[in-house]
């Protein structure tokens, strides 16, 4: 279309896009090439010094990155399995279907930070009700927040509780949009519920599943508030994730230049790895 004034109409959208997306990225790249910190708060140019430091002298970032990978992949897999199971339950004609659909969504409607504070109280090692209840059953107190290994699983529990409803919602919407005929055909062929799931439900749900998993992976890889409130990355650095580490470098230690380097590197890694994951999932799950 040859329309002279089209840019006038495009401008508001473009302006917002540039303001909130393009400018911050370019600014971050520029910042990552500077030594901006609390001693020299200025946009000087130090070349790729920050990047050299990141790749040769900062194992803590990479540790936090692999920890993040572990946490996000584990939570998303658990969310997918539990979410799918719940969606399958309320997809069928059961009593109080609507009631259950709403109940399952409640965790998602609560404020994550507040809920994490409540969870922290639950898991408090000497005052929390969880250890108290377990104590009544004769189980020794568990170090929910101060054992390096168990603390990771505590974070996983809270994350799964908070975000499974989102997975549930996406998968239920997917199930409700499926065509009826394949299920009717399977019923006529005499397929058992298990066979129906393996050969009909699951293949039909594959595209939706991939979408849901990717959306949750993107969200889960930003995991920050739960860690911040629950463990503050501790004990030591046992639950520290990339975003939390970047937050420490940038907003606690005010190494703005270096934090920008971490952010940009993190962005590039995430884009590449999520693209690969999406491709692999598509190949594994969709057979077209």
């Amino acid at each position: 279309m040859n329309f002279k004034h089209k840019y006038v109409f495009l401008f508001p959208g473009l302006f917002v896009l540039i303001g909130i997306l393009i400018f911050p990225i370019i600014f971050t790249i520029r910042l990552s090439l500077s030594g901006w910190n609390s001693y020299t708060p200025e946009m000087n140019f130090i070349g790729i010094t920050n990047y050299i430091r990141l790749f040769t002298d900062d194992p803590r970032f990479w540790e936090s990155f692999f920890r993040l990978s572990f946490l996000s992949v584990t939570t998303v897999i658990l969310q997918y399995i539990i979410g799918f199971a719940l969606a399958l339950i309320v997809w069928r004609e059961i009593k109080f279907k609507r009631f259950f659909r709403v109940i399952f969504l409640i965790p998602m409607m609560t404020t994550p930070v507040i809920m994490t504070v409540i969870w922290r109280t639950f898991f408090h090692e000497s005052l929390g009700p969880v250890n108290d209840l377990l104590g009544n059953l004769g189980v020794k107190p568990i170090l929910w927040l101060s054992d390096p290994v168990i603390a990771k699983f505590t974070v996983i529990i809270v994350e799964v509780w908070q975000w499974t409803p989102f997975m549930f919602l996406l998968l239920l919407a997917g199930l409700l949009s499926l065509p009826k005929e394949p299920f009717l055909a399977a019923a006529i062929d005499g397929a058992s519920p298990f066979r129906k799931f393996v050969y009909v439900t699951f293949p039909l749900m594959a595209p939706i599943s991939i979408g849901a998993i990717i959306i949750r992976l993107i969200e889960a890889s930003k995991i920050m508030d739960t860690v911040f409130v629950l463990t503050s990355g501790g004990p030591g650095t046992a639950t520290e994730t990339s975003s939390f580490y970047i937050y420490i470098k940038g907003l606690r230690e005010f190494q703005m230049g270096y934090a920008a380097t971490l952010s940009f590197t993190y962005l590039v890694i995430m884009i590449i790895s999520l693209t690969i994951i999406a491709k692999v999932l598509t190949k594994l799950m969709i057979k077209e």
Binding site: P182, A185, A187, D189, G190, S192, Y199, K287
Partner: protein
């Protein structure tokens, strides 16, 4: 294989309403073992509802279904031994063609040898032998539909194979071949086939018996020839045949003749007991001929249009306000604007209140 009795069946999708609307009005019918039936009717007339009631996907609001005199009304689809093919191909995407065809047998724990033998036999009948090891999703739409069909035929014990407009996605040439194939299958395996369609040609060429439906009602059950020559209602006359039956509002004249405008048309129907209201005369365009030396049942008309369809000519003519269509031999030359058409008395159908007398 079984005899299927539908006894006093009716169905509504909103039974809780004060005045439920019926998708199927009460009817009874028997489907004989090994025959081919076609259910024909316009969209939304209740064809698919009827089919789903037989297969058990829908439980009828009222009535009973008997397979070989055994009541199966409350039995689930899985246990009914029925097979159904849908309008669009339904295949198991993750399986090979062989596994697709074997699936209904595997689900019923058949022995491996038996499965192999049945799949081979069905795949040969349907010309799928060369694709057996291919992933089913790689096949074309019509081959996929053959797989759906094959899954229905692979079980020898099915009471009936129900098909819901199964050839919609298939191209005309293959459609013809498949219909013939289905007939052969029916003759070979003596499987009861029920075929839902809105295409009259499909129904006419496929079935022994055609069930014509309209608005949840069964209007006529009969042989293709009966439906064509003696439609029981004006709806059947209108719905079957192309072009539709010529229908005219008429007045009674004598015991066996009616009057259209001033023209007297004799029929072979006894009209002595009829009252003179809402009488219609119907005649197929195939039976309306250009008059040669006949002396009665002649109608003088003005020619509006002559269309050459290759194998016949379609005359569209007017007598006053009435339109009369006639299919004539394409060799016949029409020189004038006016011709005389002849209505053979034995082909004239008289309707009162849209029902055949």
């Amino acid at each position: 294989m079984a005899k299927i009795d539908l006894s006093n069946i009716s169905h509504t999708y909103n039974p809780k309403d004060l005045e439920p609307t019926y998708a199927l009005n009460p009817f009874s019918m028997t489907w004989e073992n090994g025959k081919r039936y076609a259910i024909l009717g316009p969209s939304g007339c209740g064809k698919t509802t009827m089919l789903n009631i037989v297969s058990g996907l829908i439980k009828p609001t009222q009535g009973r279904i008997l397979f070989d005199n055994k009541d199966v009304t409350s039995q689930k689809t899985e246990t009914r031994n029925i097979s159904q093919v849908f309008q669009f191909p339904v295949i198991y995407n993750t399986m090979s063609v062989y596994d697709n065809l074997a699936f209904p047998l595997k689900c019923r724990d058949f022995e491996k040898n038996k499965i192999e033998e049945r799949v081979q036999s069905v795949s040969e009948t349907l010309n799928l032998s060369s694709f057996l090891n291919m992933p089913a999703r790689k096949l074309t739409a019509d081959q996929k539909q053959l797989i759906s069909l094959g899954r229905g035929l692979v079980r020898e014990d099915v009471a009936a194979v129900l098909m819901d407009e199964p050839l919609t996605v298939i191209d005309p040439d293959l459609k013809f071949r498949l219909r013939r194939n289905l007939k052969e299958i029916n003759e070979e395996y003596k499987t009861t086939l029920v075929y839902v369609t809105h295409d009259q040609n499909e129904a006419m060429t496929f079935a022994d018996n055609i069930i014509v439906m309209d608005q949840g009602e069964i209007v006529q059950v009969g042989l293709p020839k009966d439906l064509f020559e003696r439609p029981k209602t004006t709806f059947v006359g209108y719905f079957i045949g192309s072009p539709a039956m010529n229908l005219f509002g008429t007045q009674l004249h004598t015991d066996n003749s009616v009057k259209i405008n001033d023209t007297i048309i004799k029929t072979n129907t006894n009209l002595s007991k009829l009252k003179n209201n809402n009488i219609k005369l119907g005649i197929r365009s195939e039976f309306v001929k250009v008059a040669k030396d006949e002396s009665e049942n002649l109608v003088e008309v003005n020619i509006q249009k002559i269309e050459d369809f290759g194998n016949f000519k379609l005359l569209t003519t007017k007598m006053g306000q009435l339109t009369i269509k006639s299919k004539i031999n394409r060799e016949i030359e029409i020189a004038n604007d006016k011709v005389k058409l002849h209505f053979p008395p034995e082909k004239c159908c008289v309707y009162q209140n849209n029902k055949l007398i």
